[in-house]
């Protein structure tokens, strides 16, 4: 894949480079403009809690629309077909709606500045430290993955050396985040969203036209010996889950992917929650993930469908799917389609879209990393009670440090062939037990501080044990089955131990838990007083969430 004269080399001309350069001019310009709005640390880390809901909503899904999502999901589309939509319709939307409707009032209402800080107020220092350190570690690792992918893509497409692409990408991300902080990251995520759509929508349209429209695609996949009609229906998705039994597969997808993995990721991951915390009031914060869910449910059509098209329309990839040989693999699906179908001009825009997505993924990791390390580790434990300017400076320097470490972790990422598997493992390590602890802590006031950290540590340990067992072949599940089982086991162990430990330790008083636990929070603190710009039925969070859920059910029925 790293050969200098790759089969994937795109025939980029001057005009394509101009289009790419234009985008980066705008990216840096936004960093500069956002800098003028940064006057204290809250501006830098949480955009002064001032952004409108549509901006934070688009940033919410853009932060996740990184390299793994775009390349990984089109690769899954080429390999598994329609069942891949579960990563969106089952694996994202319900959790995003739950975050907006149920959990956001506690995050935004308690005025915490980060997810670990909520942990601190609910469970005290041990749980807080475990959470803050594991989160910071995960973000630097994932930033490295994003950086490495970005560099390999630039290398393959344009022929630049890997080390040069790594450094250029790192410098660009670094400059706009250190200048404008979270606002620069969020505004660039919104811009990135539109550029990605502008890049992938034409590709999908041309691709569909090429294979003879939707019916043509259906016919070709049905006729494909490695495809067949199971790849045209979302359910039961046995290939994807790794369970042979259809019933087990449906259960595995709903509980493993839909419940434990996805709720863990979307509701407790500070990268996502931070975008909502940056919004201007409670109503906008609750609407952030809910507004994000609408574009999110249509992303599969411009990511998975091109992958499916590539598997039947690009000869190189067709050969790979049938024989497993050749010089390309599923991860190249999108690139091959671009190479074969797009003329110069649109090609430059498509490359820009990919670069934008990789870079924004990394920016999201870094902007949440610097917040957690500054507020939750340095200000809380290491260097207390300094003036605000000190922490603002610290945040800027941490971004530099994080970037340098990410360049190092890029090397770790290069050791894994299937990046999707690698990240799923990371998520099940950190997020499934986190969700178990959060949800129990929010609804059961009896849960104690000791139960908080013991549950977290034991849950994470369980996920690691399952990971090791499946790596050694003791548990044999292909596809994503091992991740589902690992996350499920971590969740159950966390809940069980938390309950047992809570019953033998002393709980916090009701007064301390006000605003943090459901039954002890007055209803007016949990719901929003409508402010200017919040009126109108279409701005009611629960109603919007209902519409979104209904749409997802319809999509599942139509494509099931």
């Amino acid at each position: 894949m790293l050969a200098l004269d790759s089969i994937l080399r795109l025939d980029a001309k001057a005009i394509d480079y101009i289009i790419i350069a234009l985008y980066f001019t705008f990216v840096l310009g936004i960093g500069y403009l956002a800098k003028r709005a940064v006057s204290n640390s809250l501006d830098f880390f949480l955009s002064g809690r001032s952004l409108p809901a549509w901006v934070t909503g688009l940033a919410f899904i853009s932060a996740n629309l990184g390299a793994i999502e775009i390349m990984g999901m089109s690769a899954n589309g080429a390999q598994y077909g329609m069942p891949t939509v579960h990563y969106f319709w089952i694996g994202a939307i319900p959790a995003m709606l739950f975050l907006g409707v149920v959990m956001m009032p506690f995050y935004y209402g308690s005025k915490v500045r980060s997810v670990p800080e909520f942990m601190l107020r609910r469970f005290g220092k041990p749980a807080h430290l475990v959470n803050a350190i594991s989160f910071a570690l995960a973000q630097v690792l994932i930033a490295g993955v994003n950086l490495f992918l970005l560099a390999t893509i630039v290398n393959v497409l344009l022929g630049w050396p890997i080390w040069l692409s790594v450094i250029i990408a790192a410098v660009i991300v670094l400059s706009y985040i250190t200048l404008g902080g979270l606002s620069a990251a969020i505004y660039n995520e919104v811009l990135q969203f539109f550029v990605i759509v502008a890049a992938l929508l034409p590709l999908t349209i041309v691709g569909l036209h090429k294979v003879g429209g939707w019916q043509g695609l259906v016919d070709k996949i049905t006729a494909d010996p490695k495809g067949g009609s199971t790849q045209l229906h979302a359910w039961p998705g046995t290939e994807l889950s790794g369970f042979h039994n259809s019933f087990l597969s449906v259960i595995g997808l709903i509980f493993g992917l839909g419940f434990v993995l996805s709720f863990g990721y979307w509701t407790t991951n500070f990268v996502e929650v931070q975008r909502a915390l940056a919004s201007k009031n409670m109503s906008a914060a609750r609407r952030t993930p809910i507004i994000g869910s609408f574009p999110k449910m249509f992303v599969p059509f411009i990511v998975i469908i091109p992958g499916m098209i590539a598997a039947v329309a690009v000869p190189d990839l067709q050969k790979y799917k049938q024989t497993g040989g050749g010089s390309v693999d599923y991860n190249d699906a999108l690139l091959l389609l671009m190479r074969d179908l797009l003329p110069n001009g649109m090609l430059g825009l498509a490359i820009t879209g990919l670069l934008a997505s990789f870079m924004a993924g990394m920016a999201a990791n870094l902007s949440s990393f610097n917040t957690v390390v500054t507020y939750d580790l340095i200000e809380r434990y290491l260097i207390k009670d300094r003036d605000d300017a000190f922490y603002l400076r610290t945040g800027r320097w941490l971004t530099v440090g994080g970037t340098i470490v990410a360049i190092g972790t890029a090397a770790i990422a290069s050791g894994y062939s299937n990046l999707m598997d690698y990240l799923q493992q990371l998520f099940s390590f950190f997020n499934a037990p986190l969700f178990a602890t959060f949800i129990l802590g929010m609804f059961w006031k009896r849960m104690t501080a000791a139960a908080g950290w013991i549950g977290l540590v034991s849950g994470t340990a369980t996920a690691i044990v399952v990971f090791v067992l499946s790596e050694n072949g003791v548990i044999d599940l292909p596809g994503q089955g091992a991740s589902f089982v690992g996350a499920g086991a971590a969740f159950v162990v966390d809940i069980l131990l938390s309950v047992v430990v809570s019953l033998v330790t002393k709980p916090k008083t009701d007064e301390e838990l006000k605003g943090l636990v459901y039954s002890l929070t007055p209803k007016e603190d949990r719901s929003e007083a409508a402010q200017e710009g919040d009126h109108g039925w279409y701005r009611k969070p629960t109603l919007l969430a209902g519409i979104s859920l209904a749409l997802v059910v319809v999509l599942n029925v139509v494509f099931g």
Binding site: I15, I18, I19, L22, Y23, F26, G29, I30, L33, R36, A37, S39, N40, L42, D43, G48, R49, S50, V55, K111, Y187, V190, L191, F194, V195, A198, P202, I205, V206, H209, K210, D340, L341, L342, P343, N344, G345, M346, L349, Q531, E532
Partner: protein, 90 residues
């Protein structure tokens, strides 16, 4: 309070920035589409994707500018003050 004044002045409308970039892309692609030779059109399965993509982007950019015009960003004075109080609390 000086910081608050500065923040209001610094509020820029991201919609206009997005529209500007997409509009530039729209113009470039439309021109490429008009001067495209038939060989390039054949590559994209017979669709002149630069032309149609370019036109669609120009329309999109116009709609975004229209939205920004109809619903400009307002920073209510009393809300800015309230925010300043909240920051002092922290």
């Amino acid at each position: 309070m000086a910081a608050q004044e500065k923040k209001k002045a610094g509020a820029f409308d991201i919609r206009v920035v997005i529209a500007a970039l997409i509009a530039i892309y729209g113009v470039v692609l439309t021109i490429l589409g008009i001067i495209a030779d038939p060989e390039e059109v054949d590559k994209a399965a017979g669709i002149n994707i630069n032309l149609w993509g370019g036109i669609a982007m120009l329309v999109f950019a116009a709609l975004f500018v229209l939205w920004a015009r109809l619903r400009p960003i307002v920073v209510p004075v009393e809300k800015a003050a309230e925010r300043a109080v909240r920051q002092d609390d922290e």
